[in-house]
Symmetry: D2
Subunit: 123 residues, 4 copies
């Protein structure tokens, strides 16, 4: 049965990625500093696909079969490094995300933030 | 019951994040181009904590209670934007990651890659 | 006489920045790895101002007196770290830029590249 | 006579880069938003060379003739986009850098900052 977002937990992916690094004896390179750099570098590679398009054009772009495969690879790389960062630091991502969403909801209450892109301190 | 990596699927988080954006009518801002920028910007904020430490010092750093909360928030922000990028582009992340891990295993066979940090084309 | 782009050489700025680091005994932190991270982090901070605007809106944005001062600071930070990177690596930036412009002119000949945003290998 | 940092002003480089874009009718793509992304993407490419090395190893790395040419190209790309950003926004970089250095000297007085990597608000 293929992996899908509906059936895959964060812990499933974290184990898969930890095993990959362990088998290659790569844990020695995976200091938090280095993983944060790799994560930022992969995020920049994803972004490079969209440099010169407008936001609107970028919608069509990701649906272009000639580009989509590459974009899937880039976002996968980003999440792989984020999960490995969580692995080596012992962070529970689901808990961290839940806490951040609660904080965000407080900073951006629906009635004040609706339809607005300003930062919370400018709302 | 609190959210944990062991019990939370990617689809759970994706729905939570999509609802947050929808309630605030923020989908209009969430073009792939813009989300890729936000993701790269958050990854850079995470990285900023480690600018001047050595890789070794960064191990202790993430365990310092005075820093850890902030680091959890930054990695949460990264993953939130990655999941929202997957939402708006209709990418199944678990499938994309599985495909990437298979490709990586081919590029970095255990016997060649063990203990080495070079790129696959320099192994 | 105030410093201006018309009267300031790259070497002038490089000396100014090297002296600043030396006086604070900061050379020990300025390894190429660390400076490349600081540079990427500052570039991301500049980018953060433009996350949710369209390219067109970003034109007006940089002329808004309430934002402009901050944007000047961010681009200054980027160039300061780029120059310090050149300092510690002994790179002559004017020569490197000249060489890159010549290479770019070859990759993007005027008649092929005019009005097109594609990468050279897609022209 | 070849271009060198000692003889090249920022204005010299800015004109050279503006002419390159104008000849290709690329000004239409060079909104501040897009240039800030390109700048961040190039900074990340430079950083990618240093992901897995220690800060100390990165010193030797930039002197390795097999790597140095590539690193010169990456830092050139960063500065080219920074200068083009200054072009399209009408920012005088030398003035912005001078102002930032004065502010930095106030935030990091020599006697407090000597030999320390903390941010000014933690000194």
């Amino acid at each position: 049965m293929p992996a899908t977002d509906a059936t895959t937990t964060l812990a499933d992916l974290k184990s898969r990625i930890a095993a990959f690094a362990r088998e290659r004896d790569w844990e020695q390179f995976h200091a938090p500093k280095n993983l944060s750099m790799a994560l930022a570098a992969e995020a920049a590679e994803l972004m490079e696909h969209f440099l010169w398009s407008t936001p609107e054009q970028s919608q069509a772009f990701v649906r272009d079969p000639a580009k989509r495969g590459k974009i899937e690879e880039e976002i996968a790389d980003v999440v792989i490094y984020a999960l490995e960062f969580a692995n080596v630091t012992g962070i529970d991502l689901a808990a961290a995300i839940e806490a951040k969403m609660v904080a965000n909801a407080r900073k951006y209450p629906v009635e004040k933030a609706r339809g607005r892109a300003e930062k919370y301190d400018e709302l």
